[in-house]
């Protein structure tokens, strides 16, 4: 084993260690505090957890590639809402009236296309204007939300299609539809980031943009494609979720960006770009969902949940830092 391999393994394993800690804690605390007769670590409950992780998880996987690329996307929540509106509303459009249930795939594609375009618009602005992605997407977070409201005023947009609901609630090999989507997306983006030229270039650009430019990598298109990917995934998340719930409030998806970024960073992705992994992000998503679910399980009230989630974030960060200290020889900067 090469020196440093162990510490690297520990480092990338931090989030999994944390998940195990959470499981142990909530199982034990649940024995005393919960009124449920069912144990926290029930198999069914864990499958449910995977399913419930899907809405945030699918977006977080996309955020990983954007952040590795050295950017960030704060507008995903609004993109998610727009895609949901397109999905639900387009099913009622007269031009699709003759399609019957075939309207479903059409609406899906339409929603996904809209999400992709919204993402690509962010990417294009970042590319062409050179304005920092944080600012571009902070603006888009407002602007896209404005579009959501423009669409239907303050009213929710609803269309309950039971065929669709049944599909979304279906299970295949014991896993819910949403879980499948989460897993497939995770594997696909993992493949993209570790195996393809595009993925490796994304790392290079995030790590040292000037070096990437000097090496002749077309930085702009990479940025745009990655934003298009996260737009697509935000829309996919909406498609998966709203197929089941059938109605979208104009506020939906608010604060998703913060949860998503938290999951990505907990999963070990460097905020400044250049390093990070999809598998780590997956761990981060599970850790957050566990935390929310677990706190509900032991009956914490709203103020406690807020307090605890906030502090836990910080504690995880401290632990992560401790694991990464190279020892006393380290340069003190």
């Amino acid at each position: 084993m090469k020196p440093g391999t162990l510490s690297k393994a520990l480092k990338s394993g931090a989030i999994w260690g944390f998940i195990v800690l959470e499981l142990i804690f909530f199982s034990i605390a649940g024995e005393f505090l919960s009124l449920s007769d069912k144990a926290f670590m029930d198999w069914e409950n864990m499958l449910l957890l995977l399913k419930q992780s899907a809405p945030i998880g699918i977006i977080a996987i996309g955020m990983t590639i954007v952040m590795v690329n050295g950017n960030i996307d704060l507008s995903v929540g609004a993109t998610y809402a727009i895609a949901a509106i397109v999905l639900l509303d387009s099913m009622t459009w007269p031009i699709f009236a003759g399609l019957g249930d075939w309207v479903i795939p059409v609406s899906w594609l339409l929603a996904l296309a809209v999400g992709t375009v919204l993402g690509a618009i962010n990417g294009l602005i970042v590319w062409k204007t050179g304005v920092d992605a944080f600012i571009v997407t902070l603006g888009a977070m407002l602007g896209y939300r404005g579009i959501v409201f423009m669409f239907n005023g303050e009213q929710p947009t609803s269309h309950l299609n039971w065929t669709l609901v049944d599909f979304a609630e279906a299970e295949f090999l014991g896993l819910a539809t949403a879980s499948w989507f989460l897993l497939v997306v995770t594997v696909a983006i993992w493949f993209l980031m570790t195996k393809t030229v595009h993925g490796r270039n994304a790392y290079a650009i995030g790590d040292n943009r000037e070096a990437a430019v000097n090496a002749g990598i077309r930085v702009g298109p990479h940025i745009m494609i990655n934003f298009a990917i996260i737009g697509f995934l935000a829309a996919l998340s909406a498609v998966v979720f709203y197929s089941e719930s059938g109605s979208v409030n104009p506020n939906d998806g608010q604060l998703y960006e913060l949860w998503v970024i938290t999951a990505v960073v907990l999963g070990g992705t460097k905020i400044t770009g250049g390093a990070g992994s999809v598998i780590g992000t997956f761990g981060g998503v599970i850790a957050i969902q566990l935390l929310r679910k677990g706190l509900g399980h032991i009956g914490a009230d709203t103020s406690t949940v807020n307090l605890v989630i906030g502090l836990i974030l910080i504690v995880v960060l401290i632990l992560d830092r401790q694991l990464n200290v190279k020892g006393k020889e380290e340069l003190k900067v």
Binding site: F241, G246, D301, T302, N306
Partner: protein, 297 residues
């Protein structure tokens, strides 16, 4: 069915965003703890539909006896409610109702009637205009709650539908959201005051925003404006007592919470409960405020 203790789970909309919801949560917990036949699981969706649906699933998985839901979105939760229904768990909707498509899957709704509330606010305002004789010329501005919230939407609808029926010559000159937020509402009102030289009435989606608007008018030295709100808060009550604020709708979160819990207990013990279980939310104005105690929130 042989239960000595009833396990009741509740998933609320967004506790902590305003004191109504927070007081509701406290009252609910207090009521549940005061009754040794009840064990409660209290969850908060934080305004997020996805989280609320996950909480419904959790409650089903934990096999509670009944679920109370304060929907974040009256339509989006229907499939989740159906799941509970299919699992044999009775569902009670509280505070704001779900859409009709889901009525088959719920046992009962308990809460205020927000459309009626909006309509009543319109009546309060119209009556006051008639009192001072400006019912044919009055100009009203409307400050709504957080965009997208069912309560905000329903109250706005009730008000805007009813006002032309009772005072056909009054015009609503402008509408902007105040996000259930006093400061935001104050800012909105400041701009209104600059923009319109003549404002006779302000309708705000709740008293918090109403008082924000009142503060703006006071600071600008504009009096003679009729302020009407909804969900009578302590600040609104005090402003009424001071003669600055005309009227509101009396709605107690404690009543709301207790009504929901009681409905759930009744359902579980097999009693007949009406499907729409509105609790009364009467008009309160400077004239009759003596009949009501000051709200606790």
């Amino acid at each position: 069915d042989g239960h000595s203790v009833m396990k009741i789970g509740i998933t609320q909309n967004n506790v902590g965003v305003d004191s109504y919801q927070t007081t509701y949560e406290k009252a609910f917990i207090a009521a549940a703890e005061g009754n040794d036949k009840i064990e409660s699981v209290v969850l908060d969706a934080g305004g997020d539909v996805a989280r609320q649906i996950a909480q419904m699933e959790d409650l089903i998985q934990q096999e509670v006896d009944a679920i109370i839901i304060w929907p974040t979105n009256g339509e989006a939760v229907i499939p989740a409610v159906r799941k509970a229904h299919q699992a044999g768990i009775p569902v009670i909707v509280t505070n704001s109702n779900i859409a009709e498509a889901g009525f088959d899957f719920v046992k009962s709704f308990s809460g205020p009637d927000n459309i009626t509330q909006g309509a009543r606010s319109a009546e309060i305002m119209c009556d006051k205009f008639k009192d001072v004789g400006i019912e044919n010329e009055a100009q009203v501005v409307h400050i709504t709650g957080q965009p997208g919230y069912t309560t905000a939407i329903e109250r706005a609808k009730g008000f805007e539908d009813r006002l032309p029926e009772v005072c056909p010559n009054v015009t609503i000159v402008d509408t902007q959201p105040g996000d259930w937020n006093r400061e935001k509402s104050q800012q909105v009102m400041e701009a209104f005051l600059v923009k319109y030289d003549d404002i006779d009435g302000v309708y705000a989606g709740d008293d918090n925003m109403g008082v924000g608007a009142l503060n703006a008018a006071k600071a600008a030295g504009r009096d003679g404006i009729v302020f009407v709100g909804a969900t009578n808060f302590a600040v609104g009550y005090e402003a009424m007592a001071a003669g600055e604020y005309w009227g509101s709708i009396y709605q107690s979160p404690v009543d709301d919470a207790e009504a929901a819990l009681k409905t759930a207990m009744d359902v579980l013990s097999g009693k007949d409960v009406p499907f729409l279980n509105y609790f009364d939310t009467p008009k309160i104005t400077q004239d009759n405020m003596g009949d009501y105690t000051k709200p606790v929130f």
